[in-house]
């Protein structure tokens, strides 16, 4: 599986190139978000970015799915883990844009947020036309992947700067947890690491090398 650019990876790359290491996190996130999409076309990416930005918006409660890199997570996953859904994304994103043009007179990405929200409501309630098999199926597909890309391990390119884990108050990976730390009122320092920052783990099985037969 191809690794997406995570914040840590960008830090490593910066260090390897002899750059200044202390790059502010928001600059790194912007840099990651400025890299070209790998699978989605520019038009598809614009529509998807606008969609995830409304599913989990940036608002008074902090950054949302777009800032977390959910659209880029989906773009990366379409190359491997969810490659079977590539046709559904192509059809669904095109249908959403066509629906926006027919109902609101402009591309989905160009509409004001309130109009975008109305159209997303149509998807969710399966009222939108032009989708196969249904607009609600496309809504569920994107919502599920947006949650993965916002709250999943940043190793996969989403949850940049741990935006998702901060949002829900996840205290982070702990490889050993005490009874005290399981109390309901436990005050846990948020730990912010990817599973694969822990060098004891491999993403892929190395079993073939270890196997004796």
């Amino acid at each position: 599986m191809k690794r997406r650019w995570s914040r840590r990876e960008m830090l490593r790359r910066s260090a390897a190139l002899g750059d200044v290491v202390a790059v502010p996190a928001n600059v790194l996130a912007q840099a990651a978000n400025a890299a070209p999409y790998v699978n989605l076309s520019a038009a598809e990416a614009a529509t998807l970015e606008a969609l995830v930005a409304r599913l989990i918006p940036s608002d008074a409660n902090g950054p949302g799915a777009l800032e977390a890199g959910a659209a880029r997570y989906i773009d990366g996953a379409l190359a491997n883990a969810v490659a079977a859904q590539r046709p559904a994304y192509a059809a669904g994103l095109a249908a959403l844009d066509a629906y926006a043009r027919s109902r609101a007179g402009g591309s989905f990405a160009a509409l004001p947020p309130e109009r975008q929200d109305e159209l997303i409501g149509d998807l969710e309630e399966n009222r939108a036309t032009g989708f196969a098999p249904s607009s609600s199926a496309f809504f569920e597909l994107v919502l599920g992947h947006t949650l993965e890309g916002t709250f999943g391990d940043p190793h996969y390119g989403g949850n940049q700067d741990f935006i998702g884990w901060e949002l829900i108050g996840y205290p982070g990976l702990r490889l050993a947890v005490t009874a005290e730390q399981q109390r309901m009122d436990a005050k846990l320092e948020p730990l912010r690491s990817s599973a694969y920052d822990h060098t004891q783990f491999d993403e892929h099985t190395t079993a073939g090398e270890r196997d004796g037969d």
Binding site: Y170, L175, D211
Partner: protein, 568 residues
């Protein structure tokens, strides 16, 4: 050109929960055993706390054979196929699904062995639902007790006994059958939240207790105690505190020098000789075909795999599948109704981010026949289970209890407040076998080798739906007593692919209705044994693995003790 290998005494097809325990008594008896496993070996480096890979992507690097042959489900013979799933629920690998299962390790209750006779005795004839093919087991709990005991120690099970030699201990399950001695380890610790739930159950007059688990509550057999890190649910253990067969029984069998393991071996057929006896198996490894002759074949795949391999292994003596001349392979199929949970919202944070699904509190008052069914319109019941286990994507995917939309700023505000204030429950219910719930080979859907996959034709019947609704009532009552401010009932679903699939090669004395005999060998093929939950004729209201393992140990011991007559 197939390569013909040296003859083994026993070839075990599948080194998961059942096959993985059977190899220990076989090797200890000095038999030469070949274990064929479709997956690879996985170890602590592979068991990262990675929710996406483990819980959402189905271990794509490991679960390859099962993902190539995912069964197709239809609710009835007249209904169209449902869309086929893309991720199988089980795991390929040495240790099989015990690598990443929840590790809840229950004994069945006494009633589960005698559903027909006990129901008739207590409530009169006619209370067993029409259309059900349920039979009493050929023996009772007391026959299986020594093997439960053996496996609890060989694998390593923690728990609180509720009935030792008839002496009831209210700290454990007061409804369990008599056991000879306590568990080899004390139960896993509870959490403050599971204590809140236990106290609420006691106020209701119920009998809460910590559940049994094949997870170390303390150092056991040189392996670490559980570290409660929160990724046990469909994840392997990074410190080998989860007692899969890969870290317990299989290594001992290998150290004996009597077990040879072949990984990435995909068994495609069981061969028979001119007398209709099992001659060995054929398997693919690295694109090559191998023939492994053996005096005895033990089929130890998952329920779907066991029925499938028998049905695929046709011959002149068995034209409709091996051991299927009575048409019973694939029959008496059922799954636990694991759906239909109840979710609850609490007014404070619960801190369920850590722990494991086996760290919880159970109530058995409404399971099996532990309560009076005289005025009820069903038999059986359910076990209630609440536990400490939550990861970030699942937390953010929480239901909104009708209090917020599912997306947008209002949703975001809701999950910020409530992501750690909700809890699920796990409600395992009695399911019975029925005439029209069965497995067969799909007429058109095939795996990449061209072999048909299993077709499941099954749905929940009235008895199962009534049990589920009754159990949801009890679970709601329990949550509300514990202070929940809202509950949601989940739908019952249908009987699709399940991690708790039973039957298809049922055990019983009558060859007209059962594939295997009381010792685990086919009525029609005496040197072919079958291991796994596929032999179980009832489900009880609790996880099947320990029972499948006890049965597997018993079959293996019987084989070693009666070698000459079985091996021929």
């Amino acid at each position: 050109m197939a390569t013909r290998l040296d003859r083994a005494d026993v070839v075990v097809v599948g080194l998961g929960g059942a096959g993985g325990v059977a190899v220990e008594p076989l090797a200890a008896a000095g038999l030469n055993v070949v274990g064929l496993e479709a997956g690879t070996r996985l170890g602590p480096r592979d068991f990262a706390p990675d929710e996406l890979r483990n819980n959402f992507r189905g271990w794509p690097q490991a679960a390859q054979k099962c993902n190539r042959e995912i069964p197709v489900h239809r609710p009835s013979a007249s209904a169209p196929d449902n869309p086929r799933g893309s991720i199988h629920v089980m795991m390929n690998g040495v240790g099989g699904t015990t690598l990443h299962y929840w590790a809840q390790s229950w004994r069945l209750n006494p009633w589960d062995f005698k559903v027909v006779s006990e129901t008739t005795r207590r409530y009169g004839a006619g209370r067993v639902p029409r259309g059900s093919t349920v039979e009493d087991w050929p023996f009772g709990l007391e026959e299986l007790e020594p093997y439960y005991d053996e496996v609890e120690r060989a694998v390593g099970v923690s728990g609180q006994a509720g009935n030792v030699k008839g002496v009831i201990d209210a700290r454990g399950n007061i409804f369990e059958g008599a056991r000879e001695r306590a568990y080899p380890m004390p139960p896993l610790r509870g959490t403050e939240f599971t204590d809140v739930m236990a106290n609420a159950a006691q106020r209701l007059g119920w009998h809460p207790f910590p559940g049994p688990a094949a997870v170390n509550s303390e150092t056991y057999d040189g392996r670490s105690a559980c570290l409660y890190h929160g990724f046990c649910n469909r994840g392997g253990c990074h410190v080998s505190a989860k007692n899969s067969t890969a870290v317990s029984t299989i290594p001992r069998a290998e150290r004996s020098g009597k077990l040879a393991i072949v990984t990435e071996a995909h068994v495609t057929r069981i061969d028979v000789d001119g007398d209709g006896r099992a001659a060995g198996v054929q398997y693919l490894k690295g694109g090559e075909t191998y023939i492994q002759p053996a005096s005895v074949v033990l089929l130890a795949g998952y329920t779907y795999e066991n029925a499938r391999l028998l049905l695929l292994s046709t011959s002149a003596a068995f034209p409709s599948g091996l051991a299927n001349n009575h048409g019973q392979v694939g029959r008496h199929y059922f799954t636990h109704n694991q759906a239909g949970g109840v979710l609850a919202l609490f007014p404070r944070k619960l801190n369920r981010w850590y722990g494991l699904p086996a760290q919880g509190v159970a109530v058995d008052n409404f399971a099996d026949d532990n309560f009076d069914h005289s005025d009820l319109d069903f038999i059986g019941g359910g076990n209630l289970w609440v536990y400490s286990d939550q990861r970030p994507i699942a937390a953010a995917s929480m239901p909104t209890f009708g209090r917020a939309p599912r997306w947008g700023s209002r949703w975001k505000s809701f999950v910020m407040e409530n992501a750690d204030r909700w809890v699920n429950s796990y409600l395992q219910k009695t399911t019975l076998p029925y005439e029209d719930n069965y497995l067969d080979l799909h007429p058109t859907v095939k795996d990449p080798l061209g072999d048909p996959v299993i077709r499941i034709t099954a749905d929940h019947k009235d008895n199962e739906k009534r049990v589920a609704a009754y159990i949801q009532d009890k679970m709601e009552q329990w949550f509300l007593e514990a202070g929940a401010v809202a509950t949601v009932r989940q739908p019952f679903g249908t009987m699709g692919v399940s991690t708790h699939a039973y039957g298809g090669t049922r055990m019983g004395d009558d060859p007209a209705t059962n594939v295997i005999d009381r010792w685990g060998f086919c009525h029609e093929v005496p040197n072919l044994g079958v291991l796994g939950a596929s032999v179980m004729g009832t489900s009880g209201a609790r996880n099947p693995t320990l029972t499948a393992q006890a049965l597997a140990w018993r079959t293996a011991e019987h084989l070693a003790a009666d070698w000459r007559s079985i091996a021929g």
